[in-house]
Symmetry: D4
Subunit: 256 residues, 8 copies
């Protein structure tokens, strides 16, 4: 019951003061809860889908969670799926008439109920090497779940700058809103890209590389130290995080 209703009811004697007090108390509690639950709304407005970490879960557990999540929202990302469970989950989703988007070399699946409408936001995604593709695909699926278009170009390296120029040109032509650069080893590609474009660049260090600075540490350090202004960074291998940041920026740029 809305406040006006309560007050009107009280005024015309339909309810007692005591009953009105109770109704208002309930209303007040709901208000506080609304306020606190702002987060729920936020998630929805932001368009960030639910993420299920499949690691250490059986395929049956995963299926149940997928169903529960899709009761309330339109899409769900399932990440870190074990190889043996991948086909099981795909089959399950199809049997439930759900739509699926998968990626190359990645353990992540995007499952959704309806065709994903585009906001017009466009995210460019490049990787330095082929080993970075799995993480970049997580980024792509996250962006798509958040209703962005994506343009990807994998394995441009910096040991071969000549492969980079055409991509940058394409990104500029397509009026891209933001670029995610996934790179391991020395991670220099993020700096180089950021020095060539005028949109925000998200550095996504990957755990590729060995020896000193291994596991993405050199890539992370190098991206944080970048001389090229306009570059921000997410954690090593955090493809979903990079996707959420990028889609967030792109969607804001395209909001009406």
């Amino acid at each position: 019951m809305e406040i006006t209703d309560v007050l009107e009811s009280l005024k015309i004697g339909k309810i007692s003061v005591s009953e009105a007090k109770k109704q208002l108390a309930l209303y007040s509690i709901e208000k506080i809860e609304d306020f606190a639950q702002i987060d729920m709304g936020r998630k929805h407005r932001k368009g960030i889908p639910e993420v299920i970490f499949a690691e250490r879960k059986t395929s049956d557990e995963i299926k149940k969670i997928i169903q529960r999540v899709l009761e309330k929202s339109d899409s769900v990302l399932v990440s870190r799926i074990q190889k043996s469970d991948y086909t099981k989950i795909v089959r399950f989703a199809k049997s439930k008439k759900l739509k699926i988007k998968d990626g190359k070399n990645t353990t992540t699946l995007l499952i959704h109920k309806n065709t994903l409408k585009s906001t017009g936001g466009t995210v460019g995604i490049v990787t330095a090497g082929t080993s970075d593709i799995g993480v970049a695909e997580e980024t792509r699926l996250t962006c798509e779940a958040m209703h962005c278009n994506t343009i990807t170009s994998y394995d441009v390296g910096i040991a071969g700058l000549h492969r980079l120029f055409p991509i940058i040109k394409k990104f500029i032509e397509q009026d891209i809103d933001v670029i995610v650069v996934a790179a391991g080893m020395e991670g220099a590609l993020a700096s180089v890209v950021s020095s060539l474009v005028n949109v925000p660049v998200i550095g996504l260090p990957t755990s590729v590389g060995y020896g000193y600075g291994e596991k993405g540490v050199a890539a992370l350090a190098s991206m944080l130290q970048s001389c090229s202004l306009g570059l921000s960074v997410v954690n090593i291998d955090n493809g979903i995080g990079a996707g959420a940041v990028a889609a967030n920026i792109a969607n804001r740029a395209r909001r009406q």
Copy 2:
């Protein structure tokens, strides 16, 4: 000379084949240089001002560089100015009829020739404690140099969440485009803010704190590990970097 001109001139016999070859070679080189020099244009388009690191420079050297930079661009950030040089540079700028924006507890100055027009992009800046203000002011000056509006709220802490809610409400009311959160010690404020809003948040860890995780390391780690999707990070104390990323995002969101 344009290609058509060269070719026409050759056709009508005005120039020799050899001269045409030379002209085309020159043209070709200029083309390559144009391509390579794309960076110059980029800087200008991005609106990132030149930054002068005053550290280890005499006030005379700084003055000379300011003048040289302002011949080509409209504004310049001078950072890490020694205390004793601060008033000297302010006085110098005023004597040259330049405009100045300074900050609280910061060693950075923004010097510009004309009134800075706003793009409409709006950046919110909050700090966890009073010690983070100096770095946050660098962010504010960078945003202003990049033609953004800024709304700041310093010292909201997380040891007193009640101070945070009104600010978040204000940010939402003002339709802010992006928020920069400067925080040292455990750096948790960035996660908390990111969980309450639906715009991109830039974590700016500061070198406040001592003991284990000192010098911003705990804040950086905590921001990179954040469970709250939508948060990206710049390096410790990199106030200018955070400002450039934020203004970049805000300006893209407000471009026509």
Copy 3:
């Protein structure tokens, strides 16, 4: 033989000076041993149960140690039990008419002979995510072995603060003595909880998280750096340690 006895015996000629000397030497050694063995009594008084690390032990070895320990004390914690040994040990304990308390997602078992009487000490245990539950359950079992009541609330996150408030209210209503906060990744929950309550809070960083600050390092650093006074910390994944500290505090608060 007590000193007085020795001396009396000597006085009445029942024993020789030499025999008296020997008896007194023995007595003296026992005295030193008493002093040194103060530790044994301490353990008992503190109520900290014996802990068996099952790792690298066969189920038969574990069974033997359980029996040996339970000859002298009323309860024993068995931690890090391999999956395959878990049911074996449960079955063994039941066959010996022993009582069992187990936990969710944990490799720890509490085995005891008699019903555990409560001291009235009450420990609240919260986790940031579902992955922290196993470690938190170790804490709960340790507290119960030390005769404390426990109130648990798992997966409150900080990405959804609205889930935290009701729990804090419950803790306050139940007059809880101390709270253990198990959190991985950025570990910010410990700071937030500590800023909302007026009882001691024990931060229990867990090894959840990946990339920079992985394996609990970010959570540990963030808890040690906390701006919120009243928070102390145990080592990463040290659920038993957190339980022992918490129960120790709770029992002291409820001692008669």
Copy 4:
């Protein structure tokens, strides 16, 4: 205006529905603010005094903050006072008829308006060496500000265990509630003390020591790794944090 008043006023036609709505909205906002401002009350109930970090503040600034804080609370800790400012602040406090507690080798001062009443809570504080005294004194002053008694014993070392036994005996005789152990270098004293007593022990690593494990890192690691259950830890040199935790535990143990 209370809810009942609003409703009664509405019922008797004293105020319009619209006015009632406004009053209730205001009331609702105040309710939310009350909820959020729970923190203010918490600080007061916990008895944790305000802490002023004097570092980078002029003595005049410090004096002003002291006055402002003491308008609202009874005591204030001023820490990290520069040598040259110490006497100035003492003199200032005396001129204002304020009471002062200072410490040995410490840059911290406790300033309070009235005699500090004891809760009966008792905290034992020991240091491994003379270099740890400054940090331990911060702990003592914090405990006293929080109305606890303290018993200190500095420089007991572990290179001379014979000095430790009498102190432990004294602590036991005085029915101490909690012990803080300040130790740098290898930090082993915390483990040893924790193995001898049955009250909670707070490890306070100090930045004493050089070479590998310097700056308190070895002491912190060693305390976190301790085999002795019942030990929790605060950050390196965080004397105030250790005091707040200890007083918190002691006061809970003595609450009526």
Copy 5:
């Protein structure tokens, strides 16, 4: 041929100047080689046995190396033997009439041809916990291979100092030359032992422990930082190194 011989032969015309020159050149080279090969003699004099790292070697390869080594020396240590190879190698050694010494929980074997005569040097070896025994046994076998007596006492902990005193007394009574203390976790036992005895103590940190300071890092740091003079350290888990240092010291103390 000795120099004198060469010269005499030359003098009496038995050999030519050219032949003499060649002989002397060879002699000179042998001299240099003698000098350089001082190392071979050293190893023998020091009594350090050959060590075969069995890791990544097949049992057949190990057997061959054992035979080759024992052609030249009296004993050989085989370390890091895989479980499945252990019995094979024992059986092989027995079939070759070789003598064997093995250890508890260790992957190391000492194989020797003759009964090992004692130098009289005596090494005490203690461990903090049962998990340190495997490494300590490596130390014991190395000492025995170097002709020292050993007295071991495992699992004395520091959480129970009362278990330590009798051992120290025994060590003193047996006129021990040097003590090796194997300890993981906080590694405090080494400091405590060193503070109780007047012989050299070798700290042997082990990789026992988890969380911050895991893998022996806390133990190593704590031993290097020790306030107790007279303690030196070998690397984490380097049981053979500790044994070689200890036996070296003991043998020097007992040399005639």
Copy 6:
């Protein structure tokens, strides 16, 4: 009064049973104290002199402590003396008719009352470079305070192995008991020396060097990793620790 005396006195009726009991209780307490105070005797027997860290002490404070220490012992090491205090303390010692030993480039002084008698124990001390001399001199003074002879050879490097051979030969000729190798940067000298001699070698890493592995970290790591058995290590720049270990070994080797 000895036990026998007490008992005899009791037997002949000279004292009462009650008086005997009291005497025996006191005796017992003294026994415990003796046991606990074993450390005092140990220090004396070990010959380790008292060490005064002059850092953060005024020259007057230092003088007082010197006097107090020399009341009970024959010698004292004063380390980390500020340049400005050095001559003051030397003058003071001379005015008190005390004997002095100082070192090159070191802030340490050895002050003693009587001529230091030699045990015959002989310690060799080498440094890799001239920058390591200050630390090595601390070692020399500690050895001399502990009644050992020392033979030093500074700046032998490994960039010039030819300088090393004559020293090693000298050490062997002089029947040295133990060698301390002080080295910063890559610290390889310790391994090389240990591979050339058959006495124990103590690695003393120094904080010389810059860049990666600076502050002695590379030297420490390299010494701990040494392939050359027979090498143990003390902490970075711990010249006194190295001296105490070495003298301890040498004195044990020369005990009668």
Copy 7:
């Protein structure tokens, strides 16, 4: 079509201005691409072969890539081949009439079409221990793929310097151009070798060793800190990198 041709064609009316323009635009683009693709030529001129990381690839995938690469270049290095795939790939290469070079204890294969002609460049490769051989063999195969001669000497240690001198003499006699030193543990061999020769030395730290400084960290630090000028370093276990640098230097030294 070359520029001159275009221009001549235009001049004689064979092509139109528009056609000339198109041809020149194409030419210009090709020029830019040439410039950018300088890298392709560089690779070829440098003689660095393509490297295929076999890790995470099936043997069929590897075979395909080998074929594709060998269409364009004469040789290919396949590294990190799984044991089970090794023979498969060897067999495949033989069936295709390809030439093969393999190494000891290495997972790398060099496959080439024609006999590799030597540039005369000569690389010396030494290892400290037998465990370093696998990495050193990667270096050797890389050098051979780059047309250099190699002289290898494995397991010279520094615990036995006498084994080093003959090799150094051999290297000098063979007029070697550059030496690669592969060493784990303390990595001192690189410094020692660099101090004995007058050609460039490449330090190749390997991940051999355990405890503090494990995984090549001590070796890397020690090589970077080396006092011996003339030593540069590649990353831990980067055998191919070391080979490429060394062959590069050797080939430059032998270029005509």
Copy 8:
């Protein structure tokens, strides 16, 4: 006396067998010394000049060492000269008729007796920023001391790749032998340069940069991780080391 002489003298009875033996022994010793002292010759042949670290030396001490060194060699590098001593040493060198080469923003001086003849070896030196110039100048002076030509280009950055291409072209035109790349912050320039040239590249990380990866750590890690084969690295700020390696390579490439 040569061997032949000795033998001839003996043969003709000019010296006795005993005298011959003595001469040959001396000769043999000299031979060993020659062998060991190979290092002296090496230094000379390598052309690496003596380096004096001026740090912690008075200008008088420095002057004395300069004179002593120049008695034996033709040139000397003095590094880390304090500002106040710089002019003093320059003046001193001039007064002694010595030649001087100094650098920009560097504390290093090259002092030599004669004009430095060039070997023809040519070293290219680039820096990423202006802050790297001081270290790069150390490299240049070292190369010149080692008789190499140098071509320098400072401040090419990677935030402006267009500045890099002309330099690379110049290096290629000048047939440079080796390139040193000095870069701090993210250090990416070294990778980029190495991917554009076919001569060896030496990465020289500098301690420029702050926050995570500060003090050259990010630059070092990024250079070691480089995907671009042909890059080796020296320690952070080790300008002299980089110069020695580079000159060594260049001189070998130009040896006759």
